[in-house]
């Protein structure tokens, strides 16, 4: 069970069209990624809410198909 970086990026881009997304495959096994997402949709949201928004975009794959995603989210600097 693993995911391609491009698949993760596409899912996030779908949910956050303006997002800047950087994805790093930490171990080359398709299961452990680091991901930075910058989107105006996060403005005014807590970190927990921001990450929950990304997990929703991944459609329930987080914790299943995708074992680990070290996530960093932020709104663009105003």
């Amino acid at each position: 069970m693993a995911m391609q970086a491009s698949e993760i990026e596409a899912l996030i881009k779908d949910a956050f069209p303006d997002a800047k997304i950087i994805i790093e495959d930490l171990r080359g096994d398709g299961d452990h990624y680091a991901c930075q997402v910058v989107s105006s949709a996060f403005a005014g949201k807590s970190r927990v809410q921001q990450h929950q928004m990304v997990y929703k975009a991944l459609g329930g794959r987080m914790g299943g198909e995708l074992h680990a995603l070290a996530l960093q989210t932020s709104a663009p600097d105003a």
Binding site: R47, V48, H51, Y55, G63, A68
Partner: protein, 113 residues
Amino acid sequence: MLNDTTREQIENDIKSEDVVLYMKGTPVFPQCGFSAAVVGVLTHLGVPFRGINVLEDDGIREGIKTFSDWPTIPQLYVKGEFVGGCDIVREMYETGELTEMFQTRGVDAKPGA
């Protein structure tokens, strides 16, 4: 799925101590790198906490994810409130927000990084 018994158990557990960490393994023997990372942060800050090993109970392991609408373990609770998983705890630790949050919620914590 989260049945009433599991929900009740979780609600009691997260209030059983100021700081509760749902983790894989125990504070002495964490069985997952992410769980170990949060244990390390709490230990470094000198914050006493209760570790709940989700590997011992599948009902809790899945129920806690529904309870907090958070898909992974570890999960940190302070004064009954969900704070975050490994990424958020680590990020808050590095910015000093974690110590600040503990202090504002009346939990003793040494300054962090």
